[in-house]
């Protein structure tokens, strides 16, 4: 399976600032996903990032708050903008390797704390 890394692994940020999270994959993948996991909760899909097109956002998530870039087939970024304490979560990226596998592999996550 693909090896996925995320940077930073954790950060503490002040209210009103923005943080960009990077997701790097060791192979080319068509589809990348960003999830949020609030404290003690399950995972919620934020958006799907496809190379060469705009990200597709799930209900409750908007591009102005969570802009996403996907410049190539191995890399994506998620920015959490104008942060508030409610944004404190783990943010995870995942990939679908395609080729009919139909399963997602996850990065190690970024733990964000907003003060």
């Amino acid at each position: 399976s693909a090896v996925i890394s995320q940077k930073p692994s954790r950060d503490i940020c002040q209210r009103g600032t923005s943080l960009t999270i990077q997701c790097q994959v060791d192979s080319q993948v068509t589809m990348m996903f960003w999830y949020r996991q609030q404290p003690g909760q399950s995972l919620t899909l934020i958006a799907t990032a496809n190379q060469g097109s705009e990200a597709t956002y799930e209900s409750g998530f908007v591009i102005d708050k969570f802009p996403i870039s996907r410049p190539n087939l191995t890399f994506s970024t998620l920015t959490v903008s104008n942060m508030s304490p409610e944004d404190s979560s783990i943010y995870l990226c995942s990939v679908d390797e395609g080729q009919g596998h139909r399963e997602q592999y996850f990065g190690p996550g970024t733990r964000l704390t907003v003060t």
Partner: protein
Amino acid sequence: AQTVTQSQPEMSVQEAETVTLSCTYDTSESNYYLFWYKQPPSRQMILVIRQEAYKQQNATENRFSVNFQKAAKSFSLKISDSQLGDTAMYFCAFMKKSNDMRFGAGTRLTVKP
């Protein structure tokens, strides 16, 4: 909308024993995929096992197996010969063909020595 329900917030099992985690889902789709993911304290999401809805045979991966009941929309995970390293949160997930994956609330499993 698809929903995934895990009715057991917490479970525990003695080392070497067998435990079954429950999962039910709701969908009108006929073709889809089901997964169990494990999230240990390191928070890394690890794919445990995968089932395709069109396959009647239950998936198995070493000590992990599923009981897939399509008509009942049930997808339980059985862990045999439980090991201390199995201690983790376990998430059941449903995915349509479109890669839209939905997760259950999770079951916290503790394996006791």
